[in-house]
């Protein structure tokens, strides 16, 4: 059977009271009990005028510290961590930013059985966005980035747009700027 997927339509400006209430937001992807290197990630969204985007929604999907996704189609012989789903969801605030508390994921196999560098999968939704955009958050300075098969598909001069950079003001702090358009536009993926 061949069914055509339902078209996307914008999440609009009024999603918060459904999707990102206190109960439905997930800022803490990993509780302190979850194994792995702690990460405090700030994601900031900027539009094509360089203005902060105060009404976007960010979703994150990631593997655990050993590079295993909590999903039946990940059949790697590695354990899942109980209590770690690997999903986060937050609305941006007036400063265009939102926060996630998580762990750095391990390496996950990629094309041609080459291991990928640690990364978070990120989808951004917002008013003015007719469909979500997909990108990835890598960790600047990780040596594995040099051999990541997906980064290798991104033009060299744009790879920096996929990097989170250390935020030295706090332990485990990282900052990721998401530029929807214009100078240093984030590389988005056709998935």
């Amino acid at each position: 059977m061949n069914l055509v997927p339902t078209p996307s339509q914008t999440v609009g400006p009024f999603f918060h009271f459904c999707l990102t209430t206190d109960k439905c937001s997930v800022s803490r992807i990993a509780s302190p009990k979850v194994k792995g290197e702690r990460v405090q990630l700030t994601v900031r969204v900027v539009d094509g005028n360089g203005e902060l985007v105060p009404d976007a929604m960010i979703e994150i999907w990631q593997a655990n510290w050993q590079g295993k996704y909590n999903h039946p189609d990940d059949v790697q012989a590695k354990p899942v961590d109980p209590g770690f789903l690997g999903f986060g969801r937050m609305a941006t605030a007036a400063d265009g930013s939102c926060e996630f508390e998580t762990i750095k994921p391990g390496r996950v196999p990629g094309p041609k059985n080459v291991f990928q560098a640690p990364h978070l999968n990120l989808a951004v939704f917002g008013r003015g966005m007719l469909k979500q955009l997909y990108t990835r958050v890598y960790f600047a300075g990780d040596l594995a980035n040099q051999e990541d098969p997906i980064l290798a598909l991104v033009p060299v001069e744009r790879r920096n747009t996929l990097m989170a950079y250390p935020d030295t003001t706090r332990p485990g702090g990282w900052r990721f700027d998401l530029r929807l358009q214009g100078e240093n536009e984030t590389a988005f993926f056709d998935v």
Binding site: L3, P5, N49, G110, F115, G128, V191
Partner: protein, 241 residues
Amino acid sequence: MDHPIHEGSKVVPYRRNEAGSQPGSLHEPYRASVRRAPSQPLIFLPHTLSEITGPVFGHGEIGDPDNDLTRQRAGEPIGERIVVTGRVLDSNGQAVPKALIELWQANSAGRYAHDVDQHPAPLDPNFSGTGRTLTDENGTYRFVTIKPGPYPWLNHYNAWRPAHIHFSVFGRAFLSRLVTQMYFPGDPLFAFDPIYQSLPDEKARQRLISRFDLETTQPQFATGYKFDIIVRGPEMTPFET
């Protein structure tokens, strides 16, 4: 510390969207898209475990299931009661069980229970405008709600959105994630709405319109609408189809 690649880590890629079946990021008549659409082409990403996995929810993992918006408050909301039901299927026609569906909408006067909504239409103290549910083993979902009203917005002079219900759906994979809007048949505002019109293909637009269904309609209670939601599914070999 890396584990050897397990034979079973082979990835079955998902089907790609057909041209014209989804909106582009930029649709100039929708003004807010002009500064929020990427100007560079998207980079083709071969599917890895990162794309073909995604969050699988159980009851209680994100809020409480609540699929009857007419019974969430002390009194009943004003408006035309409707039942909205359908199935979540993947592009191979397979049911998607335990899919989380979240829904939000304006009330019957066209007003959202949201701080940002400034439309001077009355709020309804008996209507939250939000619900959630998980599909059953056949991929079926069902909501009881009231029909939302159309409402004005500032995109252009005398701009009105057709009546719609927002749907957020998690399929099996992060790449099958879908946020969309369901419309009602025969809305006279379709021709003037840049969000609906962002789809270049009339057949694609039709996929956003629910269908009145007499069998879903409950005598002396509520009219019924059917809306099936199709999310992306894996590629299948000829032997599997």
